[in-house]
Every structure is written in structure tokens, then in C-alpha cells.
Assembly symmetry: none
Homo-oligomer: 197 residues x 4
Amino acid sequence: MSPRTTEQFDKIRQEKKELIMNSALELFAEKGFHATSISLIAKKAGISKGLTYNYFESKKEILDELIAHGFDTIFESFDLNHDGILTEEEFIHFIKYNFRLLKENMRHWKLFFSLLLQPSISDNFSKDYKERAEPFFIMLYNFLKSKGSTDPEGDVMVISAMLEGAFLYTVVAPEVFPLDIMEDKVINACFRIISKK
Amino acid sequence: MSPRTTEQFDKIRQEKKELIMNSALELFAEKGFHATSISLIAKKAGISKGLTYNYFESKKEILDELIAHGFDTIFESFDLNHDGILTEEEFIHFIKYNFRLLKENMRHWKLFFSLLLQPSISDNFSKDYKERAEPFFIMLYNFLKSKGSTDPEGDVMVISAMLEGAFLYTVVAPEVFPLDIMEDKVINACFRIISKK
Amino acid sequence: MSPRTTEQFDKIRQEKKELIMNSALELFAEKGFHATSISLIAKKAGISKGLTYNYFESKKEILDELIAHGFDTIFESFDLNHDGILTEEEFIHFIKYNFRLLKENMRHWKLFFSLLLQPSISDNFSKDYKERAEPFFIMLYNFLKSKGSTDPEGDVMVISAMLEGAFLYTVVAPEVFPLDIMEDKVINACFRIISKK
Amino acid sequence: MSPRTTEQFDKIRQEKKELIMNSALELFAEKGFHATSISLIAKKAGISKGLTYNYFESKKEILDELIAHGFDTIFESFDLNHDGILTEEEFIHFIKYNFRLLKENMRHWKLFFSLLLQPSISDNFSKDYKERAEPFFIMLYNFLKSKGSTDPEGDVMVISAMLEGAFLYTVVAPEVFPLDIMEDKVINACFRIISKK
DNA sequence: GATGAATGAGTATTCATTCAT
DNA sequence: CATGAATGAATACTCATTCAT
């Protein structure tokens, strides 16, 4: 009977917000942004349509927060403060870590791929995405250089293309390209690319 | 006074249909199927909304014809009746040929990537796509085996992932990943993967 | 090679016009005026959409001419210039004659019933219909009076209601109410109504 | 501040649904199904177009519910559980009762007549209608037999034709065939048909 | 905070009608 | 006379968003 504390309210708000975002993420990833209606999101979240607008200004804002949150989940956690040089073991760990992130955030990735392909949906998703991915490329570049690559830039391109392609395949046709198998093959191929100069 | 001949009508129909399909392809590729309205397609084609329905039963039918036509353009021309073994030169030619196809059909590819990510838009696009791509994988498999690959299946995976990723990058961020540069890097990387056992 | 005479042209025009009207009648009777498109009428007539407008100003005009022609067919031919008194035999003939007209113009009747029920389609169909039917009622009235009816007006009402109902049933459910059987029953019932005062 | 209770919502829904159905019935009866637009229904009901779809899936569904409701109103209330034999008084009451139902549901009848004439609008309206009318015919048949009719089937036909015709006249031209007058004439005529063998 | 009724702008689609040939 | 491409207004229906309760 005692009034809830501010903290409790905040917690409830936070949880409800996440509930909505999760529902939205699943639907956006599966059906696309435009084909997903607010009604559907609300229904999936088990709340009323109107309540959605208590937490988000618009459908677009849900997407924006999903993008922001997805970036944080996928890239931020991706803590690359090693100014130093990666060993081979660390590189392997790095690739594996990325595959694990993919596995855990499949729907984010699916959404992100869609957004990359449809820039009109989210104005500067593409730009933000590139900025976020930057450290990844730098790290890869440094690693390849340290390994003696004579064309580290080109190697970054092909390796990240391979990774991106592997991710896309995994997201789109997981039954044909199982993640765990892809992972090993990709790591192995990376080393073949690196070691052969 | 006298009505147009059948040939004249056929010509008009042919041309107008292509006009509509081109407009639609560009918009579908750029904004996505759902975000593209018939009005917009008509406006881009410089015709009235109603006329669109003189040529296509529905918006979905435009997409279906685009898919069919895209498949033909991208895969059919892709004549892989080499039962024999590819030489290295032929392999290089094959990769280059694919990059050329990509270059010429950028918008088809963009559309196709989108459709792969949103299966709900076109019921069995995904299945059809896989069927069409099959010969490609077989050819690659045979080539890798002929080159003495101890894991041709795995190599097919990583190489096609690299190609797919390169295609995706090229389509999505051509300014960062220029097609011509990618092409050379990819060919080079393929050989490094192959030769190193 | 010799140019057709005016008469030939008129004949062709007349025939084509009838062709269109027949197609339209069938469709209007079956699907209703609004649910019948000009395209469909043209297709059924085996001509082009545009040509229809060479013979009729509008879809509405086709209906108007059908109504006019239907009136003529159903009522005009119905030559009741007997100022004198009908014998019983003549009355029987009269009823039979009407059933025969119904049989031969089923679709006109179907259309007319529809129009009676939807006055908005044809502005004064209802008025015209009543005017046309007037002589019929008068004749019936005179006949009943001559037969000694004490309430000829009332008898006109019930007998024409019975006829109208029989017509409606025949048009709407001919399998349950076969025309030939209805005919005998109705004639018989008329006499029972008349003779019993 | 607190949201409406379920009861409040139910009441609103109930009332608004009836409002829409009443508007639709009036328009369908007057102009026909195809000539009545959703806009018009909404305007007549004093609500927005969109709201209509909050209550009905489609225009067709409005019609279906009107038919179902009309059947219930016209036939269900029509309690003919007399397994026994009707007296003449009961028969008179029965006819009068039917005229009263007609009077109270004029628009339903008008709509139903239209639907009978255009089976394409509602797939099995005709079948359902016949099923619903069945008990009526059986009752009439039994009554006529009990009165010593030598051709009860034929008498059912002509009497129901007369009733149907009277209904149609009343619906279509109430000013020429006033319901109350028709009623007496019809009852009277029925007895003349029956008593005369 | 929570509900769902209500709105209005937008979307795909149809169709009577026009018109160049 | 004849064709069918072309138009534009209308129609059924959807959906993000607002708001009274």
C-alpha cells in the first residue's frame, strides 16, 4: 500500500520499455520496419497501442533506440583498447568473440543489414554504422601489419568482406551455413590469407 | 483514322512495361518494397497511377517480374556448361565476370539482398535464389577440388562468403569499397586461400 | 469494293448496338448495374472498350436504352386495345401470354425487379414502369368488374400481387417454382378469387 | 485518469456498432450494396471512415452481419412451434403478424429482395434464405391440408406468391399499395382461394 | 500509468471515359 | 468504324498517432 519509490517506478518503466523494444526488434528484423505496425508491436508486448506512445514518441523512435542499443550491444562491448599488438591467439579470440556476438544478437544483425540496404528508413544509420565499425577496421589493420602484411589495407577489405559475408549467410540461411562451422572455416581462411604473402 | 497495328501496340506495351519496371526497380532497391508506393513508381515513370494497372495486376506482380527478370539477367547469362575443369585463368575470368555482372546490375543485387533479408515480402524468393545459385557453388566446388583442396566444401563456404561480402560492401558503400579494387583483392585472396593447404 | 450504302451501314450499326445491349443486359441482370464494368460488357460483346462509346454516350445510356427497349418488349407488344370486355377465355389467354412474355424476357424482368428496388440507379424508372403498367391494371379492373366483382380494386391488388410474386419467384428460384406449373396454379387461383364473392 | 472499464468499452462498442449497421442498412436498402461507399456509411453515422474498420473487417462483413441480424429479426421471432393445426383465427393472426414484421423491417426486406436478385453479392444468401423460409411453407402447407385443400402444394405456391408480391409492392410502392389495405385484401383473398375447391 | 475509441492522411486498386492513331 | 493506351476520380482499406477517461 505504501507508494512506490521513484526507483521502483523507474524500474517498471525500464522493464516495459525493454519489453516493447524486444517485441519491436523481433518484428522489425523479421518483417521489416514498414511492414510492422504499432498494433502488432503492442499486441506482441501484451500492452495497448496507446501505451507505446507513453514510452516512445513515434515508431521511428523505437527504431532509433533499437539502433542505438544495438550499436552499444554489438560494438561498445567490443572493447578494443589494446593500443598494442594482437597475438595470433588474441586474433582468434577476437574472431570467435565476434561470432559469439553475432549468435547472441542475430536479430540486431538482421535489422542492421536491412537498414544498410535501405538508407531511407533511418537517415544516418549508415554513417553511424561506419563510424562504429571504424575501430574494428583499425585493429584489424594493425594486426595484419604486425603480421607483416604487404597490403594491410587490401587484406582488411577481403577479411572483413569474408566476415560480413559469413555473417550475412549465417543470418539469412543458418541451416545451410551453420554458425559454428563457418566460424572455424573463416578463422582458418584468415590465417591462410595472412601467412601467404 | 485507322487504329494502330498490333505491332505498334506491342511496341508501346513493351516499352512502357520496361519503363515501369525500371522505375520500380530503382525505387524498390533504394527505399524497399513496402516504402515504395505505386504513385511514386508512376510519377517516376511519368505516367498516371492507373496506367500501371494496365500493365501489372498488382504491385506484387511488378516485384515478381523484376525478380524473374533479375534472375535471368544475373544467373541465366551465367553460362557454366563447363563440365570439365577450370584452369586458373578461367577461374579468374569467372570472378571478374561476376564482378562485371554485379556492376551492371547493382540495383538488382540491392533488391535481392533486401529480399533475402525479408522473406515475408516474396514467398519463395529465397528458395528460388538458392536453386539459381546452386550451379555456381558446384562449379566452385569442382574447381577447388581440382586444385587439390583438402576441404573443398569449407573453401566454397569461405570464398563465397568473401564474394557475397564483397558484393554487399560494394552495393552498400561503393565509395569505401570501390568495385575495381575489391575485384583484384578478392581474386588475390582466393588464390592465397587455395594455394595454402 | 463498292462503298456500302447507307442502309448497310445502318444495319451494321444496328446489329452492333444490339450486340452490346444483349451483353449488357445479361450482365446487368446477373451482376447488377454497378458491379458490371464497361470492359466486361465489351469483352462479352467481343469488341473494344472504346467502341462502346461510339454507340452509347455512357454506361448509363446503355441502361436507359435497355429499359426503353425492355418496356417496349414487355408492355408495348402487350396490345390491349380491347376497349370491350374480356371473356374468360381471353383472360386465360392474357395470363398465359404474360407468362410467355416472362419466359422470353427473363433477364429483362430480373433487371427491372432490381431497378424497382434501387430507384437511385435510374431516376424515374419507377414512375415510367408504373405508367407502362397502367393499362394492364385498367384491363384487369374492367375484367373483374365485368365478372361482377364487388371490390374490383382490391381484386386487382391481390391478383397483380400474386402475378408479381409468381414472376419474382420464377425469376429468382426457377428450380423451385417452375414457370409452367406456376402458370396453371395462378390461373386457377385467379378464378377461385374471382368466382367467390 | 483511470481508463474506462470493460463495461464502458463494451457499451460504446455496442452502440457504435448498431449505429454503423443502421446507417449501412438504410443505405444498402436504398442504393444497393455496390453503390454504397464506406465513406457514405461513415458520414451518415457521423464518424470517420477509419473507425468503421475498428468495428467491421470489411464492407462485406457489415452486410453479413446485417443479413444475420435480419434473419433473426424476421424469421427467428417467427415462432412456429405449433405442431398442431391452425384454426382460421390463428391463420389470420399469422398473416397479420407477417405484415407487422414487414412493416417494422421494411428496409431489411428491401435489402433481402435485392440480394435475392443479385446472388453474386452474398454467396449463399439465397440458400440461407430458403432454409429460413422453410418452416413458413411447411406451416402453410399443413394449414391448407387441414382445411381440406386438394392441392396443398399448389395452394402454398400461389398464396406465398401473393404474399411475396404484396410484400414487394408494399416495399417498392407503398404509396400505391398501402400496407394496411393490402393486408385485409390478402387475407380475404387467401380465404377465397382456400374455401373454393 | 493504461486503455482502446477515434481520426485523417495515405495506399493499392478499379473503372468510366477520352483520345491519338 | 475500331483499337487499346492513358487518365483521374473514386473506393476499400490500413495505420501512425491522439485523446478522453
